[in-house]
């Protein structure tokens, strides 16, 4: 069982500022149902440009709800310039601490605040220009770099605790390690590209490449929609797969299979490949 501080328990049981501010000046939405937590923050400014009201709606665990409630309490009465300085560490301090594995809840709070402020100012979030590193949870390089810098993170596990990046299929672990090295001031090696040359391959090379493309290219993309694919067998040029997760029940699964999975494999492995779904 998680050990939560009394403050976390108190705010979980009696959260403050639940709901949506009417005619909000800023709206920030982060997370999603498939990721397991999500936060919608709304605020309204007074004539002097101070946050006069802020409300939240959260889908998530106790620490996510408590972090959101804390965030609203912390920003009310502040100007946007002041509020902008609030970091996830401030939220953690307000709560008297969070378990390591729950640090991402405080990061979600900070991100919702940034998103809401950017929304008010009509700016684009810096993360929108940043490349996605963890496809499973949609975490960008910018977010990972920020979390590392702000919290002095040194390990992959910590990056996962704080941002969720790397907590799903694990295919981005190398990439995160490289970012860690870079930020920590060491000379990080460039992550290797996935695709080797597709000239003449032996059968075994072909199978390996199919596996690799499925795992590193296709799987992460499907994961964004809550789906998943598994390689069942390879018979000659027939690639037998099984769709899982959201894909398994998706009406567009056939289209996904042919237009995305098959064309991707043809592009990266061999243009003679045929993808077939085997019944579950």
């Amino acid at each position: 069982m998680w050990v939560y501080t009394d403050k976390v328990k108190e705010l979980f049981n009696n959260p403050k500022n639940v709901g949506e501010v009417e005619d909000a000046d800023g709206v920030g939405e982060v997370g999603s149902l498939s990721c397991g937590d999500a936060l919608k923050l709304t605020f309204k400014l007074d004539d002097a440009g101070r946050i006069m009201d802020a409300k939240f709606q959260t889908f998530g665990c106790a620490s996510a709800i408590a972090s959101s409630s804390a965030l609203t309490e912390m920003i009310i009465g502040k100007t946007l310039d002041e509020a902008e300085k609030i970091t996830n560490q401030d939220i953690v301090e307000f709560l008297g601490g969070l378990p390591d594995k729950k640090m991402h809840c405080s990061v979600m709070g900070q991100e919702a605040l940034r998103a809401a402020i950017a929304n008010f100012r009509g700016e684009k979030l810096p993360k929108e220009d940043s490349e996605i590193v963890c496809e499973c949870f949609g975490v960008t390089e910018g977010e990972i770099v920020d979390a590392i810098k702000q919290n002095n993170l040194t390990t992959l596990e910590q990056v996962t605790d704080y941002t969720k990046a790397g907590g799903g299929c694990g295919s981005c672990h190398e990439r995160i390690e490289a970012i860690l090295e870079e930020v920590m001031g060491q000379t990080g090696a460039e992550p290797k590209p996935v695709r080797p040359a597709k000239s003449r391959m032996s059968n075994i090379q072909k199978m390996k490449l199919i596996e690799e493309v499925l795992e590193k290219e296709i799987q992460p993309t499907l994961a964004k929609d809550g789906g998943s694919i598994e390689l069942m067998d390879i018979v000659g040029d027939r690639v037998l797969v099984s769709l899982r997760g959201a894909c398994a029940t998706c009406a567009a699964a056939d289209i996904t299979l042919k237009q995305y999975v098959e064309s991707k494999l043809r592009e990266l492995v061999a243009d003679t490949l045929v993808v077939e779904e085997v019944a579950q």
């Binding site: 959260p15 397991g36 709606q57």
Partner: protein, 394 residues
């Protein structure tokens, strides 16, 4: 505050009769069963009596019962034995919804170079027998399929699969940790080669398990040591716990049918009540092919850990398949394998009953849960959207 314990698939209370039976073997009767004196001999007789009681519950022969330290050891021992006895075979068949005690052993084997088939399940959590049959090859060393799923309670037709494996000369093992004591098991009527069970799931203490090995099945010991357990599991016998497990099996066999029917009617009442009073809720897993005590129920648009903590504040102990409770970031592998949508997987709660639960407790749960879900949905950003969507659709 009264504790209402409905997490019996996690562990069970030790039956008072079991505890009573065990205590003398911690104090005055401390002999080693292997000793050549009366003091050890009397303990040996009690251990053998326990073996008979376990065999009695399973319809097995006493010599087919090997005492181990837990269900996990039994699973490991079974799988490793089959591989060691069939060194030329390099393929293992199992399912995607196994307990980590099998699942992670198999992942380990995969890294060691074994070929592994993990059979998928459908939306109800059921296997396709056609696929089971197709998965077995001449290279298959062992098929390991759980009898009852710990999260959903869904039952697999393991006797049928065992017969299929037997006809193809493949060793069959089942993890029956959740099934023993809850559904009738008669090893005399089936062809299962090996079966794991765990004491603490049936009112014996934690730290004792059994591996059933059918007479005639080749077996290579996992824990190598002394001559105990017929040389099949080294280590001085955990005497008090073995005796406790024997008593627990005897208790489980008493009024077996009545007890489980009563548990089932409580479970059904709980399920029916929750589904009726809470919209957007659903049962995970096949309603028929299922243990009598287990209910995995999903409440959409809320997150499981939050529900559990609020239940816990009311004295109710249950568990969840949500990501947050597992310490990982993804929801349970069982619900994912079944293709349960994320909206529901994150908000899944497992209630697992025992014969110690009462109707008053069920009534209390039925009273407490709906306001908790309502309260969390009020906070959830998705709930209002979902309500609006369903209103505009109808």
């Amino acid at each position: 505050m009264k504790t209402i314990y409905v997490d019996n698939n996690a562990t069970t209370q030790v039956a008072p009769e079991v505890f009573e039976e065990m205590t003398p073997y911690f104090t005055e009767l401390y002999g080693n069963p292997s000793s050549m004196h009366f003091f050890g001999g009397q303990v040996e007789r009690k251990v053998e009596e326990a073996r008979e009681r376990v065999a009695g519950l399973l319809g097995a022969r006493p010599q087919e019962i090997i005492f181990t330290s837990c269900g996990t050891e039994s699973d490991n021992a079974a799988i490793m034995s089959a591989l060691r006895c069939n060194p030329e075979k390099r393929h293992v068949v199992t399912t995607r919804v196994e307990h980590p005690a099998v699942k992670n052993v198999v992942s380990h084997l995969k890294r060691e170079g074994y070929r592994v088939t993990e059979l998928p399940v459908d939306r109800q959590g059921l296997l396709s027998m056609e696929e089971v049959s197709r998965a077995m090859t001449d290279d298959t060393a062992i098929v390991s399929v759980m009898w009852a799923n710990n999260e959903t309670g869904v039952l697999f037709p393991v006797e049928e699969i065992a017969a299929m494996a037997k006809s193809r000369d493949i060793v069959f093992h089942t993890d029956a940790v959740q099934a023993v004591g809850k559904i009738p098991i008669n090893m005399a009527d089936n062809q299962i080669d090996m079966m794991s069970l765990s004491g603490h799931k049936l009112h014996a203490p934690k730290g004792i398990g059994v591996l059933y090995v059918r007479r005639g099945t080749r077996f290579a010991p996992f824990v190598i040591g002394g001559h105990q357990e017929g040389g099949r599991r080294g280590g001085t016998e955990n005497v008090p716990y073995i005796i406790g497990l024997g008593k627990a099996c005897e208790l489980a066999a008493t009024n077996f049918k009545e007890k489980n029917l009563r548990v089932k009617s409580l479970r059904d009442k709980l399920e029916k009540g929750l589904l009726q009073s809470i919209e957007n809720s659903m049962i995970n897993g096949d309603r028929e092919q299922r243990l009598p005590n287990t209910s995995s129920i999903s409440f959409e648009y809320v997150e499981g850990e939050s529900i559990l903590l609020k239940l816990s504040d009311k004295g109710i102990c249950a568990s969840s398949g949500s990501a947050c409770t597992s310490g990982s970031l993804e929801p349970s592998h069982v619900l994912r394998a079944m293709g349960v949508p994320f909206t529901a997987a994150h908000g899944s709660i497992r209630f697992s009953l025992s014969s110690y639960n009462t109707e008053e407790e069920i009534d209390y749960i039925l009273e407490v849960v709906p306001p908790i879900i309502e309260q969390l949905r009020e906070i959830s950003p998705f709930w209002k959207e979902a309500v609006i969507r369903s209103c505009s659709a109808s």
